[in-house]
Symmetry: C2
Subunit: 295 residues, 2 copies
């Protein structure tokens, strides 16, 4: 049986897999459902296996071949050690390496080089690599962390709308837009906030950046405060990165650069590839480590 | 049957009542269980009735007399109109007036005069009275409001501890104390935050003020940020108050003054009386309004 490698990108909404030759040349891709190892590890195992089989079929290979594969998985929620071990031990691949979804994103974005990546989506997490070692900052979630993420920005905007309603802060177009959405009843904002998940707050982030770009003073204040926390975290992560190379990923990546410090803006690079490509590369690297550089 | 009045202070942990002569002279007091009309309106009706009966017994009066009383109730959660009406219609008193717990606190603190009150406890709410009309600011709860309350201060401290752990902000004695409490495992803070109610965050507020008073730079920064939001809200409420008279109430009232602007510190007064006394005074006022000033 030919020894293929598998790169797998598993997240809360879907799971993607790519099968490749040992040198990393992708032969086929597959997709399946959610692979959230925190909320449903057994279902994650099923999704991961299905995505792998679909990739084999896409490549014209027998799906039973996944049992011989060397797989590298980047999964959300891997900071809970027990569940990672549980999933690891129940997957069908010959070799299985599991790491964070952040690591495969970093690998995709900057390849094997040193540098740093910031994932600015609903949350915010920072990774820096120096001589092959990756360090993390942030990513603690909405409640007491992720200060630069869209959820916290949206949350700050709702809060600002309430302050404007109370006459504590000045009103502006952006707070008017929010109050309008809640029919000028502050209790609607309070109730929305009570029921909302981070992603619900996050959907206000694009509105915020829109108004900030148009010069709205309250929107600018919130965008600047968010950018200040990102700048601080970037300072900390660049101190852990082996090279002045920074890549922004996530939904807010196109929106943030104008608000960041010049010292960070000046070292921004485009991502080389996506997280799935990063997973394939890491699978190839790990296989090489196991079999010797000649393989 | 003699026409007595009742003042009632109903909150989430207990309900207190005082029976008084129509002129406000208190004859007896009673206490019962929780009277939270938001979470359990039927139980609130029972607690209110029990506290009233206990006050009558304490005064040596027949508890059946509560049916003839003119009662003024200050209750938490009265911004939900339907429940207030529900409770109002099921209470046994001859006359029943229900308003917020804030209003009776204001009445107790500054009597019939114009001025303002800030309740700085787990949350933060501001009230100003001008020519008898009371206006409110804040009090929107932990999630998107109550910026000056103990819950938000404690929350900010936990967040600061995570930033210190990540090396994004400098460490200090107060962040070390928090990290020590969680055995230097940031996941402990994240898990605590996930499970916590506002009061759980609020218990870190005294620790914060302790360290701030001792000169801890991180604690000072959080205390100053909290005081800045209180100063802003006080500016807004003093603009709605008919006289430069300000009273701080709530668990943080003794801790905040040193951090506030001189323009607010200089008009601080001590509370004349507590919220229950305020409820009795409002019951007397309402009865007078109904029966004519001669009664």
């Amino acid at each position: 049986m030919t020894d293929y490698i598998l790169g797998i990108d598993g997240g809360g909404t879907s799971c993607r897999a790519a099968v490749a030759r040992p040198d990393g040349t992708v032969l086929g891709r597959g997709k399946s459902g959610a692979a959230n190892i925190l909320t449903d590890p057994n279902n994650a195992i099923i999704s991961i296996t299905e995505a792998a089989k679909a990739a084999y079929r896409d490549a014209g290979l027998d799906e039973a071949g996944i049992n011989g594969a060397s797989a590298f998985l980047g999964l959300a929620g891997t900071n809970v050690g027990d569940l990672t071990r549980y999933v690891h031990d129940r997957l069908p691949f010959q070799h299985t390496d599991i790491d964070s979804d952040g690591l495969i994103a970093l690998q995709g974005a900057i390849g094997d080089e040193d540098g740093a990546v910031a994932i600015l989506g609903t949350g915010s997490i920072y990774m820096g690599r120096k001589n092959g070692t990756v360090r993390y900052i942030g990513g603690w979630g909405f409640t007491v962390g992720d200060l630069g993420g869209g959820a916290r920005l949206g949350h700050a905007l709702l809060q600002e709308a309430l302050l404007a309603h109370d006459g504590v802060h000045a009103r502006s177009a952006v707070t008017d837009a929010v109050l309008e959405e809640f029919k000028h009843d502050p209790r609607g904002i309070v109730e929305f906030a009570r029921l909302s998940k981070p992603g619900d707050f996050g959907r206000f982030a694009p509105l915020l950046f829109d108004h900030a770009r148009q010069g709205d003073p309250q929107a600018i204040a919130i965008a600047k405060a968010g950018a200040a926390t990102v700048n601080e975290s970037l300072d900390a992560i660049m101190a852990l990165a082996g090279a002045p190379r920074l890549c922004l990923l996530g939904g807010l990546a196109p929106l943030y650069p104008d608000w960041l410090s010049e010292r960070h803006r000046s070292i921004l690079i485009e991502a080389q590839a996506d997280a799935l490509t990063g997973a394939v590369a890491l699978a190839a690297n790990r296989r090489k480590d196991r079999t010797g550089a000649a393989a």
